[in-house]
């Protein structure tokens, strides 16, 4: 079952946030969505997850139409997102942050423990989620999203504010998660190095339009991308 969006256009009072954007992700695929600030990445994720309504275009999971459904129904259908702003339940323990979501599917504490292990949080299950170090908070947000057993996980800048070591750990974890669950991942990133190393395919947005798509090597050598995003030396952003 693929997650397919076609011809998405979102217009904020005359300002085109995204225009005619197509994106599709297959099971087990890791796709990177890159672009500068204001390129339309967040708008696209908001449309895919139901936070932004639009009448133009379509979003489908397999045969079922997602566009127009509320965010919670899309999440239950199997497309789950995380937020740049993390949005943990602070004041509540790490374990219960996951349990609150796991409860929905009737999974027991066993699956909470598995997720704690997977995301390297097993050493402090009883800490207040709000008091965790930043990198831990981001991993907890992913663990909580995984409690819904998504078919597709949309990660909004999961590495923001992480050190290079932490990013490397996150890379490994994401690939491992994909291998274990066979879910598709869409990685919305600013950090070009993270997406280059683990994504099989990249989609580059600029000014609300897709200016390039393809494997990391093709993107690196793409002139339009160099001009718009990578800078002429092709370095980081």
């Amino acid at each position: 079952m693929r997650l397919v969006a076609e011809q998405l256009t979102v217009n904020f009072g005359g300002l085109l946030a995204i225009a005619d954007v197509d994106i599709d992700i297959g099971p087990g695929e890791i796709v990177g969505l890159i672009g500068a600030n204001g390129a339309g990445k967040s708008t696209l994720v908001n449309v895919l997850s139901g936070f932004q309504k639009t009448r133009t275009g379509s979003v489908k999971l397999g045969d079922s139409v997602l566009l127009g459904l509320s965010p919670d129904r899309i999440a239950r259908a199997g497309v789950v997102r995380t937020f740049q702003s993390v949005r943990l339940f602070s004041g509540i323990s790490v374990r219960d942050n996951i349990a609150a979501a796991a409860a929905v599917l009737g999974s027991g504490s066993e699956s909470v423990d598995t997720l704690l292990e997977l995301l390297d949080l097993a050493d402090r299950p009883d800490s207040d989620a709000g008091s965790l170090p930043y990198a831990h908070q981001r991993r907890l947000a992913i663990a909580r999203a995984l409690a819904l057993k998504p078919k597709f996980l949309l990660l909004d800048e999961p590495a923001a504010g992480m050190s290079p070591d932490e990013i490397e750990d996150l890379d490994r974890t994401l690939v491992e998660l994909r291998d274990r669950t066979g879910m598709g991942l869409l990685l919305i990133e600013h950090n070009i190095n993270l997406v280059m190393s683990i994504c099989e395919r990249l989609v580059v947005l600029d000014g609300g339009r897709v200016i390039a798509r393809g494997d990391p090597d093709a993107i690196k050598s793409n002139t339009a991308v160099k001009n718009a995003y990578l800078g002429t030396e092709g370095g980081g952003h």
Binding site: D72, F89, I92, D96, A99, A100, A103, V104, L148
Partner: protein, 294 residues
């Protein structure tokens, strides 16, 4: 010494009733940003049910009052608040006023506006005598019932699945929905719990005052609101301690103020409340709800 001990027990007992009132209000505010003025009628109707069931074996009458008030809370949620759940907090507030007045004047219509005496468990009025200290049984019952109820609530919120969901929803309702937590169920359970708390307050208050009147729940609900604000809107622990604090301050003022000033006790209580809010505008226990809701 005896005076101090008696005052302490009195303070704890009044504070307990206020704490339960505040918890019922804080619970709904935490989860749906609803300031539920109808909480006062939940208590009043509980007292009228007890009045109607005079002569019935007490545990049965108490159970009856609890059932009626819980069902009433659920019906109010379903008919009045569910349709406007996503509305602005101001709309919710005005709706709660409307529900409150509707229920209050229904009581006036049925029973009249005049207070009606009732006599549940007259034995409770008799004191325990320990040495030279006389402790009214009702105080012991109140403190005991509150302790049991609060412990049960804490356990429920920490250990059960729906309890964890409720706490998550209180921190970030939209995020909770996004994670698939069922809003209808969480909110219905919160209303049922606030109904249960109101019924217990009704039982304790009726046993203490022996009177049923259409506006009798008003003062309790008002103190409950004040207590949740002092505690920090959205913090349940804050609501409980806020309630206890208001009760303790009220009783202490009653005990310590010169007799000619006692009539103005409430004014002094609210001076203390204002002072607390000036010094800590976010309340004593700042809750998650105090932060901006996304």
């Amino acid at each position: 010494m005896n005076f101090a001990l008696q005052t302490a027990i009195d303070a704890l007992s009044v504070g307990s009733i206020y704490a339960l009132s505040a918890l019922g209000i804080g619970l709904l505010f935490g989860i749906m940003r609803l300031i539920n003025f109808a909480q006062s009628e939940f208590v009043t109707i509980g007292i009228y049910i007890l009045m109607l069931s005079a002569g019935i074996w007490f545990p049965l009458a108490a159970l009856g009052a609890i059932c009626v008030v819980v069902v009433l809370a659920l019906v109010v949620e379903r008919l009045a608040f569910r349709p406007i759940r996503t509305a602005d907090p101001a709309t919710l507030l005005v709706t709660s006023f409307a529900v409150s007045y509707l229920l209050q004047y229904s009581l006036v219509l049925i029973f009249g506006a005049r207070p009606i005496g009732l006599d549940i468990l007259p034995d409770l009025a008799r004191p325990f005598v320990i040495g030279s200290v006389r402790v009214p049984r009702i105080d012991i019952a109140t403190i005991g019932a509150t302790a049991v109820l609060l412990s049960a609530f804490a356990l429920f919120l920490r250990k059960t699945r729906i309890g964890i969901e409720m706490r998550a929803a209180a921190v970030d309702f939209r995020m909770a929905r996004l994670l698939g937590i069922r809003a209808n169920r969480v909110i219905a359970v919160a209303f049922a719990m606030s109904g249960l708390l109101a019924a217990v307050v009704a039982i304790l208050f009726a046993a203490r005052t022996g009177v049923a009147a259409p506006t009798i729940g008003l003062e309790l609900a008002l103190v409950g609101f004040v207590a949740t604000v002092i505690g920090g809107m959205g913090s349940l622990v804050g609501a409980v301690f806020g309630g206890l604090a208001v009760g303790v301050v009220t009783v202490l003022l009653q005990a310590l103020l010169p007799p000619e000033l006692r009539a103005y006790r409430e004014a002094f209580v609210y001076i203390v409340v204002i002072a607390v809010l000036v010094l800590r505008p976010q309340g004593l226990f700042r809750g998650a709800a105090a932060r901006e809701r996304v």
